[in-house]
Structure formats: C-alpha cells, structure tokens
Amino acid sequence: MSSQERTWKTIESGPHTYEEALHPVVRKNYGKWKYHEIPKPGVLKHVAESGDAIWTVRAGTQRQDTVDMLRRLCDVADKYCDGFLRFTVRNNVEFLTPNEGNVEPMIAELESMGFPVGGTGMCVSSVSHTQGWLHCDIPATDASGVVKSMMDSLYNEFKDMQMPNKVRLSTSCCAINCGGQADIAVVVKHTRPPRINHDHLVTTCELPKAVARCPVAAIRPTVIDGKKTLMVDEKKCICCGACFGACPAMEINHPEHSKFAIWVGGKNSNARTKPSTMSLVAHNLPNHPPRWPEVTDVVGRILTAYKAGGRPWERVGEWIGRIGWKRFFEETGLTFDENMIDSYRHARTTFNQSAHVRF
C-alpha cells in the first residue's frame, strides 16, 4: 500500500490505556487492598479494605499463542469473569472474579482445555524465555521447544506448592541471555570462535562497528584478496557471539559447537538477601532437539536437591549460600570444573578472600 492511499493519520498513543481493562471490582478497590491468601495452588484470594474479595485463577500457557487460543481464553473470561483477564510477567494467564462459585468450574474448564492451573506461591513457575529458531536472527537453539520439554517434566511442580520457595526459570538462545537472571537458567554457550564469510562480510558489515563490539579486542582488520575484511584472534576470543549481532557474516552458531550451560542462583527480588546474579554449574550439554533431555535432566537434578534440602523461604541461591557450593555439587551430582572459575572483569569478587573452607 502506498502512503498516498492512507486515510488514517497515526496517533502516537503509546501504551494501551488500562482503566477499561480492569474488572469493576478491581476499579472500585484500586489501591485499597488489605491482604491476600492462597486458598489452593493456582488460586489467589485478595481482600480489599471495603470487604470486597476477588479470586484469581492462574494458568500456564505456551506463550507462543495463536488467535484461536486467545479467543478461547476470552470465552472463559466472558463466561466467568465479566470479560476481563490479564497476563503475568511469566506468561501465565489470570482470570479475576468476585464470585467464589466461579473458581472451581473455571479450573475444571481450563484444565479440560489443556491449561494447567498453578504457578502460585512456592512452586516452579512458567519459564521466562526468548524466541529462538522460530523468529530470532541470531539463535543457536529454540527456546520454546526447550521450555515445552522442561515444563512437561516439571508439570506437577507448577501445579503444586511443594518447593522451599518460588522457583523462577529462564531459557535463552544465545549468550546475551535475553531470558534473564533466574533461580535456574538454561543458556546457550558457544564453544568455537565465529566462522567468517569474507565475501558476505565485505558487502554487509561496517568493519569498525564489529571491531568495537568485541569485549576482548580479538577482532582486527585485515585484507584478503585485496579487500578490507576482518580476522579473529582465536586465542583471545571468548566465543561470546557479540560480533555476530553487529555483523551477520561472523557466524557464531554451529550445530555441534553451540552448547548449553546451566546457571543457578539468580534472584530478582529484594526479599531477605539483595538481588543476585547467577553462577555457572554445568556446561557443554548438547543442543539436542526436539526434546533436549540432557538439559531437562540437569534442571531436574538441581530441583530435586533443592526441594529436599532447602528450608522454608530459601530461594535456590540462598539455599546454596547456606550449604555451600561444595555440597551443592555433591548433592546435585554435577561437577565443578576449572572453567567455572571466573576469568572475566570482576573475577576477583568471586574468589574466596578468607580462610573459610568446607570439607
């Protein structure tokens, strides 16, 4: 369509307005909530200062949704929730109703449609994840498939509240880790330097930009067949893939050499301890579609040990803080190796600057 035919003049409105998307009971008690309870897994009850109460039923979704599925969720919301619904930052859908009698029929209906009701309190919630092969331009794997496989095995942990505290998972298709810090994170780790397509590079890449993108100054200009191109000092290269985003001719992904790493102990909340970043506890796991069993296995081992040994309210990182990394590796059966010693910019902050030792 050419711009001449346009009759609509754009309104730069920004975010959609929210007031019309709030249930009338929410609107009435907006900002005047008193407390909440979790009557059972997947259900929240919030009570307002006015005495009004609203029940929430939470269900997991595949996140990669379709118009058909969203229309079905709308049908549920129309039937039980006066036409209102919302989503959580972890891709769960929530249905809010002031009518307690709607809760059980709604759970039954959602479960019969294949949506697991849960994701509340001390459970494993849905995975925060990236796009992968379905849509990203730099992915080494498919996050949605890893997530589906992982959540199949953690289905009961999503529906129950049997963990010491909530468990947040994330999955990312490259080392940039758009999936974010989490109690347990599954992140691609490249193990070989980029492969350069020089013919492609000279026509598509801005050389100084790619050079500047490298965190360890391993990319240098060079001349091949009389043309200005780039080379990588493979001894210096840390296989981060940062250059690939700036220059698509520096292919970092490889079907064999792009592996998986597992990280633990990320925490975003301020409760008890300050927010914390993750530590590497397993790597060199194969990129193994369609179900990535090696990844699911390691995540399962960590969760089993945490579930057995964590005390109430301890997040994964807090549990490890108490028992120590030595016992963490013993109890999960994972192996601490020399690559897990930090060698990057703030490495010293991870060294044990004390005589505290565990045997």
């Binding site: 050419s2 711009s3 001449q4 331009d137 730099i138 940039i176 758009c178 026509t203 598509t204 890449c205 801005e206 050389l207 100084p208 930009k209 985003g245 700036a246 220059c247 698509p248």
Partner: protein, 111 residues
C-alpha cells in the same frame, strides 16, 4: 532483486539496499529514492552527502544521534526539532531510507 538505471542493472537485497556499495551514483540514488516514494530535493541531497562523507571517513554509518546533532547544529534547531525535520524528509526514518538512498550498508540487529 535489482533496479534498472540508465540501461544498467544493479543488484539490491529484499529491502532494496544496494548489494555492492560501489554501484552507487546520483542517478542510482534518485532511483532508490523513487522506490521510497521520495523525490530528491536539496534537503535530501544534503543528508545523503553527509552520510556518504561520514561513511567514507569512518567506514560506519553515523548513529542517528550523530545525524540528529549535526542537523540541529547546522539548522539551529533543538534535538526534537531536528528529529522531526529528519522524519519530514525521510518518513520511515533516516536509518532506513536515507542510508538506503546513500548506498550505505543496511543497519543490523535488534539487540
């Protein structure tokens, strides 16, 4: 894809960017601009020449920030006015349209 100018054929990619940057000349620029529904006037040429000079000097396209500041300085505008001026000349954005017409590489990436 390709464009025809003065009986010559020049290869372009899906977005209409020149595949071979050395193919650029002013007639090619006019043709590329036609594809964007832009008729090249003095303001457009000023921008295109700025981009090409910058690219020849630094081998990178200037960040939009640099472009906006250069326009602001030259025209005595604030940054917001300069941005509006740029989008007035190139409605789909200087990164997309001005770089294309100037024969610069396609900007990359979303992270």
């Amino acid at each position: 894809m390709a464009i025809e100018v003065n009986g010559m054929s020049y290869e372009t990619d899906e977005n209409g960017y020149l595949v071979n940057l050395e193919d650029w000349n002013e007639d090619v620029a006019v043709k590329l601009a036609e594809g964007e529904e832009i008729s090249m006037e003095e303001g457009h040429w000023d921008l295109v020449k700025f981009l090409r000079n910058y690219y020849q000097e630094y081998q990178i396209a200037p960040a939009v920030k640099v472009l906006t500041k250069a326009v602001a300085t030259e025209k005595g505008m604030d940054k917001k006015e300069a941005s509006e001026f740029l989008y007035g000349l190139f409605p789909k954005g200087p990164a997309l349209q001005a770089c294309k017409i100037a024969g610069l590489p396609k900007p990359t990436g979303c992270v």
